[in-house]
């Protein structure tokens, strides 16, 4: 009389973790039982699914942070060793800006000898660093261009990136978020640059700019914005191309008489404490926006200074399809 076959042997067979006797038993069972063969196929497919989960990469500064924390811990400085992520994230963002400056130094002094400053930055880190250098002030917003491969609709990628970064999308009809004002300020800025008049065709503007396929306003901490842009680049781009276009003046919306409590509805009012802590995005009609074909940022790069990852920024992301 043979003992009952245990299904768990199939898993171990799949993993090549059986003794020779057990392997022989499984193979005999598989030869006789189609259901067992089907289960083995399903286990194999499942295993493949988990194995193909994407890998995660630590940030370029991770090792430096770890070693600094380890050395500090050994030197009886627990406050550094125990620093939570948000604290060192601020340092990372600052380091990112500093490293961008370091890249410039290396470019200008290519034979200056060995340096410990400039580690190679990934294209994504470089793009973020170039934006981080020009983060807007309180009453400013930064316009960022993202170029995606032709033939794809980036809307789904944008949705995934925003959700992944924990940024909620507001209704496009929300007129109180400040998004529309930022969009209008950018269009005015572009019109002034090309001496365009409202409603009058301007060949220079048409020739010098390209249409966009998606326009998204984000108001969030720099940490959240950077996470969303990173995800967007990782998802859409074979060659990430994200660059700041301009920094424009656009006052934040305020509500008179708002001294406490919230207005009707569940959305926090812009300017309220709740709004200040909510990360949000809002789609704008892409047809109303264009980007310069060869634009450099209008404002010179600011000197690299420490950037607080929790600094709240407003970003208008304009997505253009690569020719």
């Amino acid at each position: 009389m043979t003992r009952e076959f245990s299904d768990e042997l199939l898993s171990a067979y799949l993993d090549d973790q059986l003794t020779a006797a057990e392997r022989a038993e499984v193979e005999a069972h598989l030869a006789a039982d189609p259901a067992a063969r089907q289960m083995l196929d399903e286990l194999r497919a499942l295993s493949g699914e988990v194995r193909s989960l994407p890998a995660h990469r630590a940030g370029s500064d991770f090792a430096n942070r770890v070693v600094a924390a380890a050395l500090a811990a050994k030197g009886q400085q627990p406050q550094v060793a125990a620093a939570p992520r948000r604290a060192w994230l601020a340092a990372t963002v600052a380091a990112l800006a500093a490293t961008a400056a370091a890249i410039a130094i290396v470019v200008w002094q290519p034979f200056a000898g060995e340096t410990n400053i400039a580690q190679p930055l990934s294209p994504i880190d470089q793009a973020l660093a170039s934006i981080a250098e020009q983060l807007p002030g309180q009453d400013e917003a930064i316009i960022v261009r993202v170029r995606v491969p032709a033939g794809m609709n980036p809307s789904q990628a944008v949705d995934l990136a925003l959700a992944s970064a924990g940024i909620q999308q507001r209704s496009p009809a929300d007129t109180a978020s400040g998004a529309i004002e930022v969009g209008a300020a950018y269009r005015k800025h572009l019109g002034e640059k090309f001496a365009a008049q409202p409603g009058v065709p301007n060949p220079a503007l048409t020739a010098g700019t390209a249409p966009v396929v998606d326009a998204v306003f984000i108001e969030a901490t720099w940490e959240h914005v950077a996470a969303a842009l990173t995800e967007l680049m990782a998802t859409t781009a074979t060659l990430p191309e994200v660059s700041p276009l301009a920094t424009i003046a656009a006052a934040r919306p305020t509500r008179a008489g708002q001294t406490g409590g919230e207005a009707e509805g569940t959305e926090p009012l812009p300017g309220s404490a709740a709004a200040a802590s909510a990360e949000f995005a809002q789609r704008l009609p892409a047809i109303m926006y264009r980007v310069e074909k060869s634009a450099a940022a209008d404002r010179p790069a600011a000197p690299a200074t420490a950037i607080d990852a929790q600094r709240r920024v407003r970003v208008l992301v304009l997505i253009e399809t690569l020719p």
């Binding site: 770890v66 992520r85 924990g166």
Partner: protein
């Protein structure tokens, strides 16, 4: 500089912090990936990875070399992750699965749409994985993501090999069930509802 673990460890113990930095760089992505899949968010996984590397540095003199450095490191990290999760048991993990969709390099032979579909599938698998009990998720990650053999899993989790074998099989069966539930839920909530 050498990338051989024993030499890097020896150099670290002599006070060469650059050697430890090389060790960290060698294993940081592998450890981070495993920790994200074990169930923490990306943010928490980075915290735990950092904590583990710091602890490993402090305890390095006690590393006897009976197992590989990575197995030893992983055990430190795994215990730290479990300890954290037990402190805040019950938190929703859906956001973790969304968040942890990964950032693998793009495959040039794959279209953008194919990449989106693959990422969506990865999110579903992650979501199903996150629904498993911790004991099942850990053993699955160690086997499928880390590629550990049963003996190593037993060493890391401090379990008999027989338990690893049975638990892994049950984990796979549960993952299959969860994946079917995730797919069914997706079909129910998709625009237009269910399709025949």
């Amino acid at each position: 500089m050498t990338t051989d673990d024993p030499q890097l460890i020896e150099a670290t113990l002599r006070g060469d912090s650059a050697a430890y930095s090389t060790l960290v760089r060698k294993y940081q992505d592998r450890l981070l990936t495993a920790l994200v899949h074990v169930g923490g968010s990306r943010e928490e996984a980075e915290d735990v990875a950092q904590e583990a590397f710091v602890q490993a540095y402090l305890k390095l003199a006690t590393f006897a070399g009976g197992s590989s450095f990575y197995t030893w490191l992983y055990r430190i990290a795994f215990n730290a992750a479990i300890s954290r999760r037990r402190k805040r048991r019950g938190e929703a993990s859906l956001d973790q699965s969304r968040e942890a969709s990964g950032s693998e390099p793009a495959d040039d032979s794959e279209s953008a749409d194919e990449r989106l579909l693959r990422r969506e599938r990865a999110v579903q698998v992650r979501q199903a994985l996150s629904q498993l009990a911790e004991e099942f998720r850990s053993v699955l990650v160690l086997r499928e993501v880390e590629g550990c053999d049963y003996d190593t899993i037993a060493e890391i989790l401090d379990l008999p090999v027989g338990t690893v074998r049975s638990r892994l099989h049950r984990a796979r069966l549960q993952l299959k069930e969860q994946l079917l539930e995730v797919l069914a839920e997706k079909t129910r909530t998709a625009p237009g509802g269910t399709k025949d």
